[in-house]
Symmetry: C2
Subunit: 386 residues, 2 copies
């Protein structure tokens, strides 16, 4: 296995774009990533697309050749990967593996979702397709309800408080306010966050990520060729994809995700580093409780301490391990299929020193964690300034 690097990144803003469709958003991200890498479409040898529910949200299936051809790619293997909210993290994992193994040199990886054209109830129903239809979904559970159960149990088991959850929201909104590409650039106070409109107790509106449209893309290449294309390549230092049961009720302990623990350990071992070596992270905050659990499962803090750890400011800009400098799914937005690659775009920008007001100083190692469903898929990627 040879080392692999990101040589270009491109991303649309996230938001509600009624004048765009799944193809036009994808094209923008793909073209920007290819331009950033200085490669032409004819140089791309394979296309990997992450998309969760294009058929349900937009009516369009068979999306990989659809977007590949529109992007000017000709005849190359073009494949769609679906792994719920980890769809484009998974596409990246497979693309990385193919380049690392020497199957291709130059590969384009994208993620896309358009969600805002659907009414909220329909969005909730489509998202519920990532749960267990025969069990929890049939019983009426939506994803806010599943993560509400996780939050409630975490509160019971570890003493996590309403304020702990809200501090995550306040922090991610403060970060997203500094990101011109974020969906909801709005600072909120702890009081606002605590008193948000109830969604599924104990989660309120400010605990839930956004329903967004958007696309993100990266171009990867073998590290040995990276400087042909980029003055600032970003090395993939470690990566792992793991799986677990889909249904929350089949899990032994709903306050931890074994797939996250396992992916984190594997990626860190591959990188030969520990969580303390990571200087900035994008964690999958589909709900505030998910960021708290991820902090624990990845070893950034002891089990059960994600709430108090966040309350210390450790995960804020200026803290020991700033988390979700992009604003996260909470403020940057969460076009499901785009999220995994969008995390990598943010970290690439951090490692290149391109993040302006939200730049973390002296970043050498960064970690992305992309979660599918209530923990049935996880992809953890560790990036390094090359």
């Amino acid at each position: 296995m040879r080392p692999v690097a990101i040589i270009g990144a491109g991303k649309t803003p996230f938001g509600a774009f009624p004048d765009q469709d799944i193809r036009s958003l994808s094209l923008t991200a793909c073209r920007d990533a290819m331009a950033d890498a200085g490669v032409t479409p004819a140089e791309i040898e394979a296309f990997y697309l992450g998309n969760f529910a294009g058929p349900a949200f937009a009516g369009q299936n068979h999306l990989a050749p659809y977007i590949a051809a529109a992007s000017g790619l000709e005849g190359v293997p073009a494949t769609r990967f679906e792994a719920a909210c980890a769809s484009s993290g998974s596409a990246f994992f497979h693309a990385y593996s193919a380049v690392a193994a020497g199957l291709y040199d130059i590969v384009l990886v994208a993620g896309v979702e358009v969600m805002t054209a659907q009414p909220t109830a329909k969005v909730t129903e489509i998202l519920a397709g990532a749960g267990d239809l025969n069990g929890e979904v049939r019983a009426g559970a939506t994803f806010p309800a599943l993560f509400a159960m996780i939050a409630r149990r975490h509160m019971h088991q570890y003493g996590t408080t309403r304020e702990h959850l809200s501090q995550v929201a306040v922090k991610n909104h403060a970060h997203g306010f500094l990101n011109p590409g974020a969906h909801l650039r709005k600072r909120i106070t702890l009081e606002q966050a605590v008193n948000g409109r109830p969604v599924s107790e104990p989660l309120n509106l400010f605990d839930c990520s956004l329903v967004s449209d958007g696309a993100a893309a990266v171009v990867i290449a073998p590290l040995e060729r990276a400087r042909e294309f980029s003055a600032q390549p970003v090395k993939v230092r470690g990566i792992a994809q793991t799986s677990d049961r889909v249904a929350l009720d089949e899990k032994a302990d709903i306050t931890t995700f074994p797939a996250v623990v396992s992916a984190g350990k594997k990626a860190l071992a591959m990188a030969g580093v520990t969580a303390e070596d990571i200087r900035v992270a994008e964690l999958h905050d589909c709900f505030t409780i998910a960021e708290i659990v991820a902090l624990e499962d990845l070893g950034f803090c002891p089990k059960g301490q994600g709430g108090p750890f966040s309350a210390t400011g450790a995960t804020s800009l200026g803290g020991a391990i700033p988390v979700n400098t992009s604003g996260g799914l909470k403020s940057k937005g969460h076009p499901v299929g785009a999220t995994g690659v969008a995390q990598l775009c943010e970290l690439t920008a951090q490692l290149r020193g391109q993040c302006g007001e939200r730049q973390v100083p002296n970043v050498q190692l960064a970690l992305a964690q992309n979660l599918g469903g209530s923990g049935a898929t996880c992809v953890v990627t560790i990036l390094e300034a090359a």
Copy 2:
């Protein structure tokens, strides 16, 4: 890249199974494939699932970990691949690549679709998601209509006749009659086939493949380890996945699929053989005209001669190159996401001499062609008795 072999195959019958669901069918195929290979779930290092539209047909998304966990796989990368009707062909291509590159040794690849619970109009609408929503689909085209245009143009350009189309149907029904796992085991006469109820002129009911439920799975391993598991491993001698534009109206000539031509050439070149060396083939006969075009695009006969070539009996059992001994999509059935791997199951059985009444004698090389949409994805695989 090291040689790779199929070491186990399993498949449900294809048909309408109102008492089964997407998970139970998948489980049956996966367990049968693992039993055939003599491997336990704990030995499987990664899971590759082809599925076109589980969310739309069955409400269930995030299918790969859903089925992996139910099959007893623990924590391994579990990924769903969607490439329209080539979904599981594509899953197999990526799984093959990973094992060939040395990423894993023992990998399970499955395909599944449940379609018959939906009313026909809904099935047609879901399938149309593999066309171009902004163009041909918005204009009202369904897949029977798109392939009807291909047939009409082929007739105009090459003199293909109504009878040529029907001879493909008669032959595939005759083959499927010999396959206990086929959906519609019913011999038909040329007169019946010619006079079928119109669907989209010139295609009638007997020109169209079936709407089916079913699943298929194979286990693959490096060839050097294959005999640890199987007395009759089947080597992957050549394979390629290619892409093209989704919309039929964007193609220069609708009587040929560039993705098929290209995938065929690449797979044959990789195998170091020509079309004449192939002794049995499973071709993607979603419509009778598709089998005729595939015969031409893959070089089994000259361009335009697919109809007359079929009429000679060359593609029937006992002919020079028996095509679709399983009955094909026409008689065996076409649970979309299962089709690519099901083709490989049939060819594995042929190469092992397990096909009973439909066995082709002395098979050494076999070819499968799996098509997505109206030619936007193609996977061609060449298998050899190891």
